[in-house]
Subunit: 167 residues, 2 copies
DNA sequence: ATATGTGCAAATCTTTTGCAAATTC
DNA sequence: GAATTTGCAAAAGATTTGCACATAT
């Protein structure tokens, strides 16, 4: 009995969907202090934004939002903090199929990996998680004899709405 | 970031990953002429290199190799040709987990999609194809109601050899 | 007290672009 | 001959870095 996947979210909100359990996000701040990472107001600010943000942020957007709350924060700090969170494995880095430029997007790691379907036409980002994905990961780890730390599955194509519109 | 050794070439065993048949690569040149794309010696040269190359090339490496055969070729032409091939859906763009910098890597599209396992320690790139991957794609297309054009699955972690070495 | 993090500005790296000249069909 | 492609040089965009100063533990 093959269980199909779930559209986890549409462009913004990770939450619950269909008959899937909710997808949780651990507190980035807690995770950092648990790792005995030094805390500064800059890090608290940035991490707070990433935590709350409903959508995928790129470094520039993150800086912009942070600056609105405290203009003393610098671009370099944003990049350095992103690097820190990445190294700790607390956020994932995405390309979203480079729909607009070469920048990267970030999101707090969720309890279940999910992939991103990017519509070339309207730019919608659909998140998709499924047991088949988990199974594939398990298979790669076992059969490929590989200790998986990060997985990034991105798909480009056309969403239902755009296909209908083009027909 | 880290990255102990040099990027080991393609450690791939495309024909052996998963339990599958050999994977073929259609002739890029034929595909292009079939699409009535104008042919120039620059394009022939670049496409020939991509076709033959056993490993993943980035734009700079591609330019370097091309220049050895004809120094008149320009960096811009390389990028423009890559763009052309991408638009035609004849090559795939990879990040290989950004093991060294933000550049992109390219490979002629194969008859079956495969994913890339990148070892954070030794830099080896292992290619992995499997029916489970095909199944997942089918599921995403059907259940997510999405017309898939490009799929990119990249994994970062530690290969068997490096795990053994670290133990 | 000391190791670590930050702002600033400049540097680096990759990719893109405007335009006149060259090439392909 | 008209449309397209190229080389060149410069620009753009994203990210990183050196260093003197500030901050956290």
């Amino acid at each position: 009995m093959e269980m199909a996947g779930a559209l986890v979210a549409n462009e913004s909100q990770l939450g619950r969907s269909g008959n899937d359990r909710a997808i949780s996000r651990p507190s980035l701040l807690k995770e950092l202090t648990a790792r005995r990472v030094r805390m500064t107001w800059q890090r608290r600010l940035l991490v707070g934004i990433m935590q709350d943000s409903p959508r995928h942020l790129d470094a520039a957007k993150l800086l912009e939002i942070a600056r609105r709350r405290d203009s003393r924060i610098d671009r370099a700090t944003v990049y350095r903090t992103i690097g820190l969170l990445k190294d700790c494995g607390l956020i994932d880095e995405l390309d979203l199929m480079h729909l607009e430029g070469e920048k990267h997007y970030y999101e707090a790691k969720t309890s279940r990996d999910h992939c991103h379907l990017a519509c070339f036409r309207c730019g919608a980002i659909i998140e998709y998680a499924s047991p088949a994905f988990e199974r594939l990961k398990r298979e790669m780890a076992q059969h490929g004899d590989f200790e998986i730390r990060v997985v990034r599955l991105e798909v480009g194509g056309y969403c239902r709405r755009c296909r209908a519109r083009a027909a």
